[in-house]
Symmetry: C2
Subunit: 798 residues, 2 copies
């Protein structure tokens, strides 16, 4: 994807009427009637010539695909629209209703988005659960139930054998008629791989044929879109449909991926689609991005059951330009989505996520050491993963291998399935794995991880007995977890970037949870066997349960996710909302902070920024600080060796000259200056507008010839008597282009671009135009600086 | 307080070395060594004249009191400093240590701020509690214990008579020797009033004598300071000390005020004081404001025990300019503060606030009707309060009455004490009142509010019995609550704005909680007596407890607080953190949203913005939208009737002419133009810099006379042979002033000012300077527009 706007895109004067008023008249005229005397942009026609261009020209004001929007222009358009509605609303009851509709449409659209996101998330959860279990067997009594539901309905099970229930048949039982033995194991193995391959193949084919944008996590693209880039169809209805279906398939296929990132994409699709119901949002790219901000909050809200975390995620990670304004609506959307999901109750526990946990024991100060170690692990994993994954994705992009996405998916799925089946911790759904790792061992817990020796003795005194030597089950589990860890680490690198919907949150969390649980059990056993050590003696009271391995799993999960995404506050709040206890925020913060610092030491980009850079999206990161000492004159075009800047003079060009200037260059816009002698800046005119204007004039105005004079001034220049009728182009001139002087430090220019959302900026020296800086120039400049001075970016700055 | 900067303040060229390089050399020179070849701002002395001014002049770069800071300049200064440290850090171990210290100072300062805020909050809580109880009596066995602690230590009490314990003596018992009877009642009444008056008088005298800035809530001023205004001493150590002491006194005096707002001020004082330990923050006004943002989060965190709510409060309500950057540190500060407070455990329940609640029953959909009604009440109360309070404060400012602040405080305290004592709900501490109103009636609750008839019968079946007809205690309580409501409403209007520290959160919440509890009990009784009504039949199951009056109190409190402050997300999150249940967010949101809309219908300003406007602080509200169609040329100075803009020419002024221009005008800065004939903009020079430069030159450079030529250009102009030595002022010229064209719509100009934090902006037309726009001009313009078009601002825009 290449951005093509070297200069700039269609660009209209902000004030429809203002530019037809002679400068001298302004103070008088404006002073008498400050507010809306012109009734919203209709030209206050004191015009003396046929100003055909003052009617809106169709197509002007929209953007081409893969172009950057101009936030300032969009916001002006919206205020203009608002003024128009406001001025009309007292005219009639109908207009008043329309203004009410307009005022409420913001709330309506986020409500609808929240409803749809919650419903889709519930649907995806249920479908993925069912299909995931389909790999292992079916429910005989009711095909449409997953294993858990199947076993619930058959009342014959006790807690002890929750996993076994007569209604649920695995494939070996169904096909071979026997549940045990090597033959049935192989049969199950085969069926598992078969289903996994079918799901994955179906998913990748659907994506390839119907909606190529449905692949990946979508967050890098959404970040780019929210920063003001246009990618048509990326949030369309086909993408939504295919992404929803293939997300279920991809999750069910057992690949090392999650549904959380794609859920944000799905929610944004909903937001985008609903925004088409409301002209306020569909016709304004800046306003539409407000809806998308809210939608991404709703997406995280349903992904993790964390409405506040979702809002902070949208604020910290995704949104670019106006976070505060949308805060309240984002919060509302996130809540609506969470409540819809809870009404659907996909997990049957009236919780929003599978891995909601409650711990009952506090943590002790000395535990910060292992927590910080987990943070270091998370940071290292994040840095390693980003480098490895980016290297692999770059290889995929640059070699022939990338041309066979279906084959690649099948291959990865096959490897995943073959290696995953033998190990119970990789065979099961990743969410369930995380749940099991997070959960503390209680008296009712039957998992292998909780087979401590005292518990195996069958006493019910579990909670009273702090002596918990690990039993053989725990040791076996640790080995299996170690294998699962290596497996997940390798597979995730190759999976993220496949042409199927794939989120990174769940695999990252799983890796962290495995590492955390292992560390937790190790510390627990250390505390048991060496309870007379200074540390344990000081903190662990005798007779009290001291170490909670589940908490370590949670901290590890947060650390790994932090290492990969470099999220901070939102991540802590999301995990905080999973546990609901203020108590565990400090361990989480310690781990997440460590992980971010360790990760940043190896490169400051998170995985999303790295993918944005890999794909070359025009994204000007708001978090990255510009630390160099270059000036605007170093970045502007034309450079020293280039031909001089293509400019237009305000009143002495002919139509022919103008056309040849346009045809000889590829710039999208041209500064207009006073005259060849005096390069003082008058305004900025866009290629597209000029072309349209000339064509329109030729069709509609008589007497416009090739040697007609073109003028951008208020009054026609004095011409010889025999010259043809002149062409007035003042109405397409942007009279308020942004300018900086050539001495302005680039850090200020970058700041202006980020904060105001500019597309281009003119560079002047003593009032004369010297050159132009576009967003693309800045990105190129940043890239150049980065390559020249890589070591500099690794300075210590927490 | 009047801002005096018509033009602008000291302002240095951003790049110390850049401006001595001739323009033609830039691309070559810069292209070869992009990064820091100049080693951080030291001029790359290719200078051919004695450029004495290139040494930093002491005093330049600081601000006067009551002036606005220039964010862009401050940020450039910080980056410069950072580059300098970075370039030096490889020189020696000491420099490396310094760079590490610099990198970590941000974390250190927020940690210290968090620690101090938490400790002070704990101290204030404990002291205020003790002094509050002192009004009614003392603990004989240990003077330093408050009533609750006193009764705890005496082991003789049971739950039923928690309020009565032998160690605690009220004043009548101590002085008259009898606890009951009219005489002792009058004695207690007298002592209550006596202590209240003593506390309040002491508080107001301390404030008046030692730290006049310690009065009020401080939030309007902190908002103004964070938006970039300088008020020296407002966050100083005296203010901190006096505010802490007088806050305790004011709360204990029983006035209708809270400690939450002032706690934010106290935390900001801590942040400001600690920032002086770190040159990174003490020498840079913009960086200091990052610390203050974090400090205000810590303040709310300890005020409400809501760290996340605190961060969102800082983001939504207080901070102005760079919320995202400080998010993570604010969060950290808030957490540290919360943990310190919890370690101090001022309330003895290991909670951060007195009124932490847990509800056990869900809410039903039909309850949204009373919740929304509470929202309407909150909005009406907010609008009414803001108008009444502002009217009263304006009266105080404008009439002679304001000259006697001590008398006013004594009067208000006397009235408060006299009317508060007879009613138990106004006599007690407002926080305790809120706690009692929030708490649901459980079997152990002995309060009058829980004297339902079934409970009075003495059965333990309370929880199983949904039939709860109100007993006489409840009816009596309702009457008393109604009186308390009226009392609080009236007193709060007169209290907020007194010359003592006074927060508004607690009184507002109390008013809402009283109204909510009354509505809750009404709905409860309605459900009891009309349990066959459609609504109740549908939702309230038989045998289940259906209505929770405590929840109504909480919703009412949120609604009233929302009406007064117009906070949204942060308010909901703060109250959510009080209850810890996601469940009750929807009622809260419904009420807060309704309250905001109802309040906004009567005027869009919250109480803090209203006070900012009343005091005339130069605060450019980031939330308020600019909806008018004026252009930059309508706002700029000079206006049509004014004398022409005072400009300097770049190379044909003499020192004498320059001095007379400066002396004849009062502007703080002057645009520098090419020549009288061609008004093209070259740069911007500040009055203060010019004055300093001329004085310095006279002292240090020989041959500078009154008729010396002054030049701002790179090279000296050619002069007649006999002319005196010219004076070069290029180094004080800002070569990159911000400019807009005269056609730029004001909405864009306002946006630029807000987002970039400018102080002034030059207006050009075709490259020529026309005028200047300062922040003050914009504020005046907004005020003008508001007065001309008041009805417009009340449009329907939720």
């Amino acid at each position: 994807m290449e951005e093509e706007d070297a200069g700039a895109d269609p660009y209209l004067p902000y004030d429809g009427g203002g530019d037809t008023i002679p400068l001298q008249e302004i103070p008088k005229k404006r002073g008498s009637n400050y507010v809306m005397s012109n009734g919203g942009g209709a030209p206050s026609s004191t015009t003396h010539l046929l100003d055909f261009l003052e009617e809106p020209i169709p197509g002007v004001g929209t953007y081409d695909d893969f172009h950057t929007i101009d936030w300032v222009r969009e916001k002006c358009k919206d205020r203009e629209r608002h003024r128009k509605i406001n001025s009309k609303k007292k005219d009639s009851a109908w207009e008043f209703t329309k203004s009410l509709y307009d005022a409420w449409s913001g709330w309506l659209v986020v409500t609808l988005t929240g409803l749809a996101s919650g419903a889709l998330a519930g649907l995806i959860d249920i479908a993925a659960d069912w299909m995931n279990d389909l790999k292992e067997g079916v429910c005989l009594s009711a095909m449409w139930l997953n294993r858990e539901q199947c076993c619930w309905t058959s009342n014959e099970t006790t807690f002890a054998e929750r996993d076994k229930c007569p209604q649920w048949k695995n494939w070996a039982e169904l096909i071979l008629g026997q549940a045990e033995g090597p033959g049935s194991y192989i049969m199950n193995y085969f069926m598992y791989t078969y289903w996994a391959l079918s799901f994955a193949t179906l998913a990748v084919c659907l994506v390839k044929v119907f909606a190529p944008y449905a692949c990946g996590s979508g967050i890098p693209e959404i970040k780019t879109i929210l920063s003001g880039f246009i990618i048509r169809g990326y949030l369309g209805k086909w993408t939504l449909l295919i992404k929803t279906v293939t997300l279920v398939l991809a999750v069910a296929s057992g690949l090392s991926l999650g549904k959380e990132g794609p859920l944000v994409h799905v929610a944004c699709c909903c937001g985008n689609i609903f925004s088409y119901l409301f002209p306020k949002y569909s016709k304004n790219e800046a306003k539409k991005r407000e809806v998308l901000s809210a939608a991404s909050a709703a997406g995280v809200s349903v992904a993790f059951g964390a409405p506040i975390g979702g809002v902070l995620f949208s604020l910290e990670e995704v949104s670019y330009y106006f976070p505060l304004k949308t805060l309240w609506r984002s919060f509302f959307a996130a809540l609506v989505a969470a409540f819809v999901l809870r009404s659907i109750n996909p997990f049957g526990n009236s919780r929003l996520v599978l891995f909601y946990v409650e711990y009952h024991t506090p943590w002790y100060l000395f535990e910060l050491i292992p927590f910080i170690l987990l943070g270091v692990f998370g940071g290292l994993w994040g840095a390693f993963f980003i480098r490895a994954n980016i290297a692999w994705c770059r290889r995929r992009k640059s070699t022939r291998f990338g041309k066979y996405p279906v084959l690649e998916v099948i291959l990865v799925t096959a490897v995943t399935a073959v290696f995953a089946f033998p190990n119970p911790y990789t065979r099961q759904n990743t969410s369930e794995l995380i749940k099991e790792l997070f959960t503390d061992c209680g008296p009712l817990e039957s998992s292998q991880l909780c087979q401590y020796r005292s518990q195996m003795n069958g006493s019910k005194a579990f909670n009273d007995n702090p002596n918990r030597p690990a039993g053989p089950g725990v040791y076996a589990a640790i080995w299996q977890l170690c294998l699962a860890l290596v497996f997940k680490i390798i597979m995730t690198i190759f999976t993220f970037g496949l042409k199927v919907p794939s989120g990174l949150f769940i695999p990252s969390m799983a890796i962290g949870a495995i590492a955390g649980r292992i560390v937790g059990i190790a510390v627990e056993q250390l505390a048991y066997y060496h309870h007379d050590w200074f540390l344990f003696k000081e903190w662990c009271e005798v007779g009290a349960d001291c170490i909670t391995p589940g908490l370590y799993a949670m901290v590890g999960a947060a650390a790994c996710l932090g290492g990969v995404t470099r999220m901070t506050v939102s991540l802590v709040v999301i995990v905080f909302e999973l546990t609901g206890g203020l108590e565990y925020i400090v361990p989480l913060m310690a781990a997440v902070m460590t992980s971010k610092w360790v990760g940043d030491a190896f490169g400051r980009q998170g995985i999303y920024e790295a993918h944005i850079r890999l794909n070359g999206y025009p994204f000007l990161d708001a978090k990255e600080e510009f630390t160099h000492v270059t000036l605007a004159s170093d970045v502007m075009r034309p450079r020293r060796s280039d031909p001089p800047l293509a400019v237009l003079t305000q009143d002495d060009l002919t139509v022919e000259e103008l056309q040849s200037t346009i045809n000889e260059t590829s710039y999208n816009g041209f500064p207009v200056i006073v005259s060849k002698e005096s390069q003082r800046l008058v305004g900025f005119a866009l290629r597209r507008d000029i072309t349209i204007a000339i064509e329109n004039a030729r069709r509609k105005q008589e007497g416009i010839m090739l040697n007609s004079r073109v003028y951008f001034t208020q009054h026609a220049p004095t011409l010889p008597a025999d010259s043809p009728r002149p062409l007035k182009l003042r109405s397409i001139l942007d009279m308020s282009p942004f300018t900086v002087t050539d001495h302005t430090p680039m850090e200020i220019v970058v700041d202006i671009f980020r904060k105001l959302g500019l597309r281009q900026c003119l560079v002047t020296h003593n009032g004369n135009v010297l050159g132009i800086i576009t967003k693309k120039n800045i990105l190129e400049h940043l890239e150049e600086l980065k390559q020249n001075t890589e070591p500099l970016s690794e300075d210590i700055r927490p």
